[in-house]
């Protein structure tokens, strides 16, 4: 599990962008979606999540706005930008490449 989360942590940005590709969302909702998708196996630490938000915002991949809930709960929503969409597809192809590389490296007897 700890090895898995180490690998996953390197792709935090991709995971968040993948969530935002499905529509605007906020911190807890994104983390909840990740948790549900992995069947409770994996969830991001809040600190990791918000650090990634700030980083992606600085890169221009996402923008944020404050929602106006009538219940008094103020949530900051994030939405993906065209730059972010491009970055997401770039990250996907990068992941495909590294996945294949990793396969040949950790299973050399099968591919050769």
């Amino acid at each position: 599990m700890s090895i898995a989360s180490d690998v996953i942590r390197g792709h935090t940005d991709t995971i968040i962008l993948a969530q935002l590709m499905q529509g605007d969302s906020y911190g807890y909702k994104i983390n909840r979606a990740i948790e549900l998708r992995t069947g409770g196996e994996y969830e991001l630490k809040e600190a990791t999540l918000y650090t990634a938000f700030r980083r992606l915002e600085q890169m221009g991949c996402i923008t944020s706005y404050w929602g106006d809930e009538s219940t008094g709960a103020r949530r900051r929503y994030y939405s993906i930008t065209p730059v972010g969409e491009q970055a997401y597809y770039a990250m996907l192809s990068e992941w495909d490449t590294s996945k294949q590389l990793l396969e040949t490296l950790i299973r050399p007897h099968q591919s050769s």
Partner: protein, 226 residues
């Protein structure tokens, strides 16, 4: 328990930089933690368990605070080593005061000589010395390096705002710092010039009044100008 979560976040953010970004992050984090907590309770967790699960899920906040400074992280200002600015400032003030005191010497020395036309020369010399000293004082005040608190704090933001809006005020302050030395100079000038020492001290009663009027006019201008 909601209160406990808020307290916990408050504590976390005690060491965070005091910026708008940090405040927004705090609001955002608090709301999301509360969402998580309520979801856990709705799942059937006890409030205590839900609280600890929520708090544990925050993780390491140190990395979070790194990006909270406003704008690019400023490096310490580079000082050109021309000696300690405080020492230099003290030296300039001392020279100025010395010039004020010495300014009466030409009047005394030249006035005692039995050569005609020396009065004018002595007064001119005295005025030159006084204006030199006044100039030094104004320069010293205007060139004084302002202490900068670490960037990114509310204090520094405020200070910056203050210096931006008050640059005109700063100049006036610099000029006003020469006011009292000028009054003193005027006193000596009048006294030596007229020889009426018994009446010229009135100047020291008039001077504070004039100072007060100047101050009032300046503040009036300032508040109406805003």
């Amino acid at each position: 328990m909601e209160y406990n979560i808020r307290c916990y976040v408050d504590e976390l953010f005690q060491n965070a930089p005091r910026t708008q970004k940090a405040y927004e992050l705090k609001v955002e984090l608090t709301q999301n933690l509360l969402d998580k907590y309520h979801a856990l309770v709705a799942e059937g967790k006890s409030p205590e368990d839900a609280y600890s699960l929520t708090v544990v899920s925050i993780g390491d906040v140190r990395e979070l605070f790194e990006g909270l400074e406003d704008g690019p992280v400023q490096t310490a200002p580079v000082y050109i080593p021309t000696g300690s600015p405080e020492k230099r400032s003290a030296a300039i003030t001392s020279i100025a005061v010395m010039l004020y005191i010495l300014s009466v010497v030409p009047v005394i020395v030249l006035g005692s000589l039995p050569v005609p036309g020396m009065e004018t020369l002595s007064i001119v010399l005295m005025l030159v010395m006084i204006s030199l000293a006044t100039g030094l004082l104004i320069y010293n005040h205007a060139a004084k390096p302002k202490k900068q608190p670490p960037a990114g704090t509310v204090v520094s933001d405020f200070k910056q705002w203050q210096t931006q809006t008050n640059s005109r005020k700063q100049l006036l302050k610099a000029i006003r710092s020469a006011y009292w030395p000028l009054v003193l100079a005027l006193y000596f000038l009048l006294s030596f010039g007229t020889g009426r020492w018994h009446i010229t001290w009135i100047l020291f009663l008039i001077a504070p009044a004039v100072d007060g009027i100047i101050k009032a006019v300046l503040t009036l201008n300032d508040s109406s100008g805003k």
